[in-house]
């Protein structure tokens, strides 16, 4: 497995865990009441921060372990990695656009800030997740 594929796997795994943890924490804090009463900002910011740190830590640890097995491949990327990254970016971008449009619509109807922020948050998360899955599939099955 090449360096960039490991990074992609790290992103996918961390994104899934982060989304799940965030949803659980929000539901716990809501305690069956309205979701708009939840103090979502710290939860969301901590989740985003932890995801970034988690992805970096996993990539470094995995990179060290992989480097012990195959020192030649450490940190290397090439044309195929760039092509796959572009393809994954295009796939993921659709969710950013949907989230952006969703946020505009929610603002237009004076929705609570909770819904606006979470629409954008899940747009980013789904963009990272779906784009990452598309990249992993391209690494495994090919990009012709």
């Amino acid at each position: 497995m090449v360096y960039e594929e490991r990074n992609t796997w790290s992103t996918v795994v961390v994104t899934i865990i982060a989304m799940a943890v965030y949803v659980v924490l929000v539901l716990q804090q809501a305690g069956g009441g309205p979701l708009t009463d939840v103090d979502w900002a710290p939860l969301m910011l901590w989740t985003i921060g932890a995801s970034i740190v988690g992805s970096i830590v996993i990539s470094i640890v995995w990179g060290i372990l992989a480097g012990m097995r195959d020192p030649d491949g450490v940190g290397r990327s090439d044309q195929r990695d760039r092509d796959i990254a572009h393809m994954g970016g295009r796939v993921g971008q659709a969710f950013m656009v949907i989230a952006g449009l969703g946020a505009i619509v929610l603002c237009a109807v004076d929705a609570d800030a909770f819904w606006v922020a979470n629409t954008v948050f899940f747009g980013f998360a789904l963009s990272a997740l779906v784009g990452g899955i598309a990249r992993v599939v391209a690494y495994r099955r090919g990009l012709a």
């Binding site: 090449v2 491949g73 090919g142 012709a144």
Partner: protein, 72 residues
């Protein structure tokens, strides 16, 4: 989901004809990872034109001795 390339190649045969050159050696000489070279050899990735020329140059043959495309 992934449309297979119609470009075929003779990289494996050419490696064998060049003292059983390893995939790792060819990858090193053209500046890509071994995994990328494997993907090209198996038709799972179409190389850029520049990379295709570099591969053919390693074997000392014209480009269409390495890569070919069906007439239709």
């Amino acid at each position: 989901m992934v449309k297979p390339t119609r470009v075929t190649n003779r990289i494996r045969a050419l490696r064998a004809a060049h003292d059983d050159m390893t995939q790792a050696e060819l990858a090193r000489r053209v500046g890509v990872t071994r995994q990328t070279l494997i993907a090209i050899e198996q038709g799972r990735y179409s190389p850029t034109l520049e990379l295709a020329f570099q591969i053919s140059r390693v074997f000392g043959v014209p480009l269409d001795d390495v890569f070919s495309y069906p007439e239709e």
